[in-house]
Every structure is written in structure tokens, then in C-alpha cells.
Amino acid sequence: MITTILDILIAGLLMGGIYAIIAVGLSLQYGVARVFNVSHGEFIMLGAFGTWILFTAFGINPLISLVMCAPVLFLLGFYIHKTIFRTLLRSSKIIEIFESKSMLVAFGLMYIIQNIAILVWGSDIKGYSYLNSPVNIAGAVFPANRLVTLLFALLIGAVFYLFLSRTRMGKAIRASAQDPAAAGLMGVNINQVLALCFGFGALMAGFAGTLLSLCFPIKATMGMEYTIIAIIIVTLGGLGSIVGSFIGGFILGIISSLVSYIEPSLTLVAYYVIFILMLLIKPKGIMGK
């Protein structure tokens, strides 16, 4: 009994790390750049496929791909914001209009990216194995790659947290999240900050994609599932809060492993019940102000 509970808990924590990274990305894109990015999962998919290609075609270690794929996606996100979303921001009179229009643009992006991925890689499942020797954690046996992903997720989260709280750039981002107009008046280059935040969101998606491809099979249409998970965690943890994203990620990870132990096909239903309860009880989330 106790070992089962431990199994479930550890499996949940191992999953929660990746979930948290995914959510941090969306949290930045919506919390600061005000783009409700329904194409977030497509960036994750691109990260995963990038890693897969580098590993299978060039034999590059996935942990090295971590610092190769994500930065490329950062640039992609940065330039998408600089071109498309900035044009939209300029033409929208109020922020609500920008929010609804940017969501639709993101839906268009999702279609484009998914179509390209299907054309290039086909729609069947791909995968590779790396570091899947079994490891024993407190009686529960897991492949080593799960442990590695959790460690890297925590590391990425911690570095990014320090970046936001300690550096000048981080301060500018936090200021822009609170009040873009005032931040602009204080000399923050607001357009640059928004583009950076969207880029950082894509960066996080890239990291998450690489880490996911380590543990799970991947396919071109995998994105939507992770977009939804990100939306739920962000709502759970509070928009724009990194700590909240990590708490939400671990909660969702544990719920996921608990429910899939009892009845696997109800996992997503369980997510939604939590999500709906959270929206009704405290829509601002655990760490929301």
C-alpha cells in the first residue's frame, strides 16, 4: 500500500517538472505579452522533433540539444511577436480586442505549424531511447531519463526565477506585467520586453519539447494536449507566477499519476474537474494576487 502511494507520488513529481516548464512558458506569454497562445503546444512539438532529428540523424546527445533547439525556438517566437503581434498591438484600440484577436492569430499559427510538421515528418509516432536504464527510487523503479528531466526542469525553473528576480531585464519584465504603460514611462522599452517574453515562452516550450522527447514517443499532432495542460496549470497556479506554475505543475502531475493508476482514460476529465473547480473558487489561481 505504502509503496503504491510512493510510486504514485514519485511518478507525479517526475511528470510535474515538465508540466511546470510548459506552464511557465504560457504564463509569460499570457501574463506579460497578453497573447493567449493556443499554439504553445506546437512549439513544444517543434522542440521535440528537433531533438529527435538531431539524435537520430546526427547522433547528438539530447541533453546537448537542450541548448540547441530551445534557442532557435526563442528566435522564432521573438520574431513572430516582433512582426505579427506588434502589428496587431498597434492596430488594437483596447487590450481586450488585442487579447481576442491575438488568440485567433495563435490559432492560425497552430494550423500552419502543424501542417508543416505533418508535411515534413508525417503523422505517425516517432521516438528514440536514451538513458532508459532502470533506477530505483525508494522502492519505485523508473527509467533514468525521467529523473534527468526532473532535474533539468528544476534547474531551468530556478535559473529563470533568478533571472526574473535579480537582473535588470527581469525587473523590466515584472514591471511590464504589472503596468505596461507605467513601465513604458519609466524608460522600459516595452515592445522589446513583450517580444522577449513571447520568445521566452517559446524557449520554455523548446526545453519542454526536448525533455518530453527523452521520455515519451512523439508525433506531429501532440501539441494540443500540452497546450491544454499548460492552460490548466497556469489557471491553477496563477497567471504570471513562476512559483505558481511549479506548484500547479506538481499538483497536476500527482493527480495525473493518481488517476491513471485508478482509471487511465479519465485523466483529462480529472484535470478539467480541478480546472473548473479552481476557476469557480479562485479564478486568479493559487499564487494569483
Partner: protein, 326 residues
């Protein structure tokens, strides 16, 4: 003559006459057009119904709802389950009523949420219902999909036309009643609206429910065209984004904006899907983005701008002519 002067003086009557004429023309179309046109027109009518009923609620209030796909899916599943036990008109009506109950529940739960939280919720609702239905189907009936009793394409067409006619009438009546005014006041300032005595929650839920009824009914009719459905087909996120996109693409300043938007967009979808099925998603996504970026007031805005420019030119020419005469 008298009728003509009456039509000239009364704008509402004029619009009503035009709408009735168009509906009559549409109703006689199956006599002299090829079958394919009727099938295409049914899709167009479906999207017009979806978009107009989406605008009915989201247009004046500004609450961006991503629930259409959920309501359509509920309509589709009601038809699939009830299809062989009742006559078709009853099935469509009952599907609409089932959708009403879902919408009542959702509305009561969520219409207290503001802005993006409402959107997020309705986005999640679709996936929740889809997975729940999938779970129930797998565990209770042991099937993944269902067969729907097919109706011939003329029946589908006429049902869509009737639903559209009723929807247009309802929209018209709501817009000119005090409820329409209350809805618009909610969109402008919800707190002020509630202070001057508008029962904000009731008005919002009532409109949300009415718009859901038409989506459910449209889904019920369309289900007979697909013959086979499963949760993935019935609860397709695409149906949530299309009405929003078509409304924005057409322009929401007038009722005919969304109608133009859905006609053009459905035709475009059909064209791309048949001509370039492999690049369909990509091209459609690109059109989505370009339309949002470069048509801020929709096609309606473009038409109005063009019309205004034309009028200015005509007036200028007239003035010039007068000068020459004097």
C-alpha cells in the same frame, strides 16, 4: 406605388422584405440548381447559423465564447442517440433542448467569470465533454463511434434554412427589444448596467442559452450528413474558432457582416479542402492571420469605406456638373 413609398420610408420594413425575398429565393433553389450547389449551400447555411448565433451573445456583450463546438457536439450526439426512435423534426428540436440544458448549466457556472477567464473556461468545456463522452461510450456502450441515420441532402438544406429563418427573426426581435438594449449596456459597462436595474446574470444566461439552442439544432441537422461520428469528429475545436473568425472577418458592426464573413469563409474552406487538401491547414491558418492583421473592421469595414469613397466621388461629380451649368 403605396407599397414602394412605404418601403422607402420604413427602413425596418425594407430590410425585412429583402431578407424574406432572399430566403424565398434560397427556398426555391433546389428546383433549378445542381445537387453540389445545394450541398455547398447547406454548409454555408450551417456556418451562417453558427456565426449569427455566436454574435447574438458575444457581439453585444463582448464575452468571447469558445463553446460553439461543445454545443454543436451535444446536438450531434443527441441526434446520434435519438435518431432512430423519433421523427426527424422532433430529433432536431430535442437536440436543441438538450443543448439548452447544457448551456444553462455552463452559463450559471461561468458567466460570473470575466474576460479571458470565461474564454479559458469555454475552451476547456469542449475537451471536458469530449473526454467524458468518449469515456462513457467506451465503458457503457463499448463503442467508439456511432452511425447516424442519414437524411437526403435536400432535407438537410431545408432544415438549415428554417433554422436560419427562425434565428434571424429571433435576433431581430431581441435586438430591438429592451433585452437587446440591456445586452448592449452589459457590453459597454456591466456594473453600470446592473446599477440601472438590468438583471445582468439573467439577461446574459438567457441570451447564451438561446444562442446555444440554435448551435445544437444546427449540429443535429449536420450530424445526418456525416453518417458516422465519434467524439473526435463531433467535438471538434475547429467549430469553436470558425464562428469567431467568420464574425471578425465579416465585421460585427451590422448583422450582415457575420453573414458575409461566413459565406466567404465557408466557400474558401470548401475550395481549399477540395483543391489543396495537403496544404489546407497551412493556407487556412495564413488567411486567418492575414485577415485579422489587415482587416480590423472586417469585410464590412472595407465595403463601407469603398461605399463612402464612391458616394464622395458621385457628390463631387454632381457639384462639378452644376458649376458647369451655371
Amino acid at each position: 406605388m403605396e407599397i414602394l413609398t412605404l418601403l422607402k420610408s420604413n427602413k425596418t420594413l425594407r430590410t425585412a422584405t429583402i431578407v424574406v425575398l432572399i430566403l424565398l429565393i434560397l427556398a426555391t433553389l433546389p428546383i433549378y440548381t445542381p445537387d453540389y450547389t445545394i450541398v455547398l449551400l447547406s454548409s454555408i447555411l450551417m456556418y451562417v447559423v453558427l456565426t449569427v448565433s455566436w454574435v447574438l451573445f458575444s457581439g453585444p456583450t463582448g464575452y468571447i465564447s469558445l463553446a460553439p463546438a461543445a454545443f454543436i457536439g451535444v446536438g450531434i450526439y443527441s441526434t446520434a442517440i435519438l435518431g432512430d426512435s423519433m421523427p426527424f423534426p422532433v430529433v432536431v428540436l430535442v437536440s436543441g433542448i438538450v443543448t439548452i440544458f447544457i448551456a444553462l448549466l455552463v452559463g450559471a457556472l461561468t458567466l460570473r467569470l470575466k474576460g479571458i477567464y470565461f474564454t479559458i473556461f469555454t475552451f476547456g468545456l469542449l475537451e471536458l465533454i469530449r473526454h467524458l463522452v468518449l469515456f462513457l461510450e467506451l465503458h457503457l456502450t463499448g463503442t467508439r463511434g456511432r452511425f447516424v441515420i442519414a437524411q437526403d441532402f435536400i432535407t438537410v438544406y431545408f432544415y438549415m434554412l428554417i433554422i436560419l429563418a427562425v434565428l434571424l427573426l429571433v435576433t431581430f426581435l431581441i435586438n430591438r427589444s429592451k433585452y437587446g438594449l440591456a445586452l448592449r449596456s452589459i457590453g459597454q459597462n456591466e456594473e453600470a448596467a446592473s446599477h440601472i436595474g438590468v438583471n445582468v446574470t439573467t439577461v446574459k444566461i438567457a441570451t447564451f442559452v438561446i444562442s446555444a439552442f440554435f448551435m445544437g439544432a444546427a449540429g443535429a441537422v449536420m450530424a445526418t450528413r456525416w453518417t458516422y461520428i465519434d467524439p473526435g469528429i463531433a467535438f471538434n475545436m475547429f467549430f469553436s474558432f470558425m464562428p469567431v473568425m467568420m464574425a471578425l472577418f465579416g465585421g460585427m458592426a451590422h448583422l450582415y457582416g457575420p453573414i458575409i464573413g461566413s459565406v466567404v469563409f465557408t466557400y474558401l474552406e470548401e475550395f481549399l479542402l477540395t483543391k489543396l487538401p495537403e496544404l489546407y491547414m497551412m493556407l487556412f491558418g495564413a488567411i486567418f492571420i492575414v485577415a485579422i492583421l489587415y482587416l480590423p473592421d472586417g469585410l464590412l469595414g472595407v465595403i463601407q469605406k469603398g461605399w463612402a469613397a464612391l458616394m464622395r466621388k458621385v457628390r463631387k461629380d454632381n457639384l462639378g456638373g452644376n458649376h458647369a451649368n451655371s
